[in-house]
Symmetry: D2
Subunit: 324 residues, 4 copies
């Protein structure tokens, strides 16, 4: 256990907080030593405070940890946060100023604290989309992207979506989601120019829907490319995508960041969300499109690849590249 | 009862067949006198033969009717058909040659029989899409259309989709559906030129998904227009759409063929599929789009507006315009 | 409109409140003139305040009514209430003391106010169960009852059950429900003795589950009878049950309070909950039982027969019998 | 690999067949060498023939195996079968006569072949129920049992239940299931007397329902005991249950065959079906009952503990006790 980084989790009793706890069990580099939550659970042990809603058992190592208030000091070197929007900005700033490194599961402007700093995740739909688009943008330069999402219930946290709202139903609205996907995708695939992020020059259109699926965000995507490409070239470009996390063989990096399936009826949330332990993005139904150039369907696990797993992978990457 | 047209239903025990029976109960112009099905139910009374799967009760007037084989003669003047694909072409040809008028709930090449003729319905997703696009195409001339559907289970008939396939899941594949939506939309919104259908000149891209909803096809739509239009003009164009069935005040014509809703979270299948007794198409989330020009979400009842109701409305229209 | 009773609805924006509004549209004796809710909606028009979640449209007659605080005075003669538990007792007492008649959709001890009085509904599962048991108890005297419920989501109100909790799941727990079903059933089927309710002498065992169904509570029931009875006698006893609301031909009284179905796979929530406009209780799978004497499955619409509809029927009954 | 038993799977492309394949991957004693199915998949490789519907990937070791007809000879020493009812009796007899050992996932009379023999599984609901009842029957002798099941979709195989039948619905009927649970429970908990099975003397009442859950059969159970017992004694009796598979530390034996949970809202299918790798039965809500003596809710994974896993455990037991 010696030599492991001591990790705190903010929002530890929520959906993504529980994923952090689950994914960090037996992690080779991190050990959960601090748990914080904003709700009435403070002061209780985690096993009492947290209604564990994942199919696996709550890890034994965290059951007795006391849930603290989400304020420094917290017994850890590094903080993973999944606090809800309003309170996140304030609390996370406090931790950064107090010198903690933070990895946060939603996109926000980069705070730059005194001693520590904050690494944020983008929106969970955007992560998946950006991963699928990245190799295409590098190789063929995207001109425009049209994406229609069918997002899982866990993306709304807990209690999140009322069951009566999705029973025998689809909701064509997720607050602020379309704007986020449109702008964050341009940002993530942009470049650092003079210390600023220059948004990628392609345009993005997003229509976002909530469907009656527990986990696994899915998106129907069309892309228009600046450069010409055959279907085979597009397919190869996706299949062969590999990046620094794979090179560095990071613990949470899936062998294949993008899995391309050729069966006509894949990806499907129930069958493909756990690919690569929830860290692979699955792509299927790749074909020429009659209006744009190409189209495909993509899927990933929104609370792993799209949230907790992504933050942990970021932390592993920062360690491996000696940035922390 | 005297003076009503005597109507036969082919495929009377299936999902759409049951909708025909339900919608024709107490119809002012039609009376169901013949029921036919291809399965083992022949020879039994309809109440014995048919596992009625609609929430309302089976109409008393048809309970004792004997289910016949789907071959002429059938005790009726006019035939509504919802036979499955393979057998439909053959059987329906027989009825046309035998002098029956037929209204069929799927798109096929026009057969031209001896004494009778066949009026077919397009694909159920296409009907809804074409209705929403028609006024836009008339007024602003469509340049291209991008549609992503989230289709209901009843669109696949019965037994149709296995429950294990959609439990906690979305299926990104419906056989031949994308091709149908792409080509039939161009066809329906095309023009008759020298006795032939000239496809509409705009291009259509369709990605089709099956979601865990009983009834109500939904689609996220983007359109690019040839002529410039303000959001207000697009909105007015949709709201004010009215057509011959409304003018003629046909029994099955909804007062408003298109309902435009301004709430951010509508349309929803469970709440909007029965609008206009299942014959109105609901449109919501109308907005400017970053890649195309405008976007919206549309929804309608796939076995009413998209199938049985559409065929009945066609029959009413043919009667009102003295074509039969 | 003259001559109608003026009705107020407490908790008008909730699930049951919306049902009251829906069922009272075009009611021959009642007219909704007052709407009250405890939430932030006070002061707004009902159409602004209420996110209408029923498939039908919000009745035009109530759209402009202002939502008031749930305190007297309210512009009405009679109050229907579906306020949540904690606040109900206090608020409803205020109305009773102020002289309003109230019909409340949950069981509570009878308050006896100054000028008005309160008529409460039992728990929604109990209503259905008691209706199915009543004729059996009258005719064959129940010795014991074992009931296992599978209850709908709307029974928990809105937002109620989190979608993540019932997606691909069943919940074996509804707070206080088993106790309520066990004791309220004995109470409703008890007798008034010296001005007190004497509980019925049979014992009741209830296990209550929440299933992923929007509306329609279902229960698997076994009964042990004090007197011997053939299966045919039990069946006849249920089929022939009729009561005062049927005799008096009350507006909301279904022609058949109990519908006995002989198909092996009925009742089903989706197919049978709307029987008798949601006011009939459907019974199926009646058979001898190996441990108790007889068993059956029963189902009814929990927010109509089990809540709003029951309260309205009670009001109609009180009017018809000149008690108000 | 040397020394492993060579195993064939009949019905290899079905739901339970796929579970056999999944559970036998990396099994220390068995190696899948033969795959057979009755459908059109014969002659194809398993990866081509089988639409794999489990979230994990199809094991690499079986992808290239050719699917054979379900008739001897099959390249294996021992056969696991999950063929559908009608064809099972005939085919399995052939294998037994040809000298194969078979472990079959449904209850049938014991065939006794020439060289081989057949070990059958009981019905999937019965396995779970019998496991929960076994310790109670041993210790307190059951007098009667009342069980109401809420069974998962996968229990009906594939395609099994039509999605339209369970969408927003519960089905109160599973063909022959109630009879099976009632009689097989008595049989399994009976004794061998003069070479015959003497049914256990307690009576069983079963009401069986299909709910909208993918995997995990749940049952609400009441028991009447011949001997008096305190709640604590009943609880201890369940918790401390352990049997030969635990003693022998068999590969597929869970550490705890019965898990008793004290949270008020457990067991739940989604959270508890995978307990003990799908081989533990979870019990919760244990309490005194007002009609019978005690009650509880029990749950297990129907295609693992209730089918494939049970058959594999049986095979391990036969090996460990030198019966094969």
């Amino acid at each position: 256990m010696a030599g492991k980084y001591r990790v705190g989790i903010l929002g530890a009793t929520g959906m993504v907080g529980q994923r952090f706890v689950q994914l960090l069990e037996d992690h080779p580099q991190f050990e959960v030593t601090g748990l914080a939550a904003s709700d009435r659970s403070q002061g209780k042990s985690y096993s009492e405070a947290c209604a564990w809603r994942l199919p696996s058992e709550m890890p034994a190592s965290v059951r007795a940890l006391r849930v603290e208030a989400p304020r420094p000091p917290l017994d850890c070197d590094l903080v993973f946060s999944s606090l809800p929007g309003e309170m996140a900005r304030e609390v996370e700033g406090e931790f950064a100023r107090a010198g903690y490194l933070q990895l946060i599961e939603r996109q926000r402007a980069k705070h730059d604290g005194r001693g520590g700093f904050i690494v944020t995740n983008p929106n969970c739909s955007t992560i998946m989309l950006a991963l699928a688009l990245a190799p295409l943008n590098i190789r063929f330069r995207l001109e425009s992207v049209v994406v229609t999402t069918m997002q899982a219930l866990s993306g709304a946290g807990y209690p999140g979506v009322a069951s009566l709202d999705v029973s025998d139903n689809v909701l064509p609205f997720i607050e602020n989601e379309e704007e986020k996907v449109e702008t964050e995708t341009q940002k993530i695939l942009g470049r650092i120019q003079d210390g600023e992020i220059a948004h990628a020059p392609f345009s993005v259109s997003a229509q976002c829907n909530r469907v009656n699926v527990s986990d696994g965000h899915m998106a129907a995507v069309r892309v228009k490319l600046t450069e010409t490409a055959t279907l085979e070239e597009v397919r190869d470009c996706l299949i062969n995508f590999s990046s620094l996390p794979q090179e560095l063989r990071l613990h949470s990096a899936p062998a294949r960041p993008l899995i391309v399936r050729d069966e006509p009826d894949r990806p499907q949330p129930r069958l493909d969300r756990d690919a690569g332990k929830g860290m692979s993005v699955t792509i299927g139904r790749l074909a020429r499109d009659r209006v744009m150039d190409y189209r495909f369907v993509t899927l990933s696990h929104n609370t792993i690849r799209g949230a907790a797993g992504a933050a942990i992978l970021n932390a592993e990457l920062l360690l491996a590249t000696n940035r922390i």
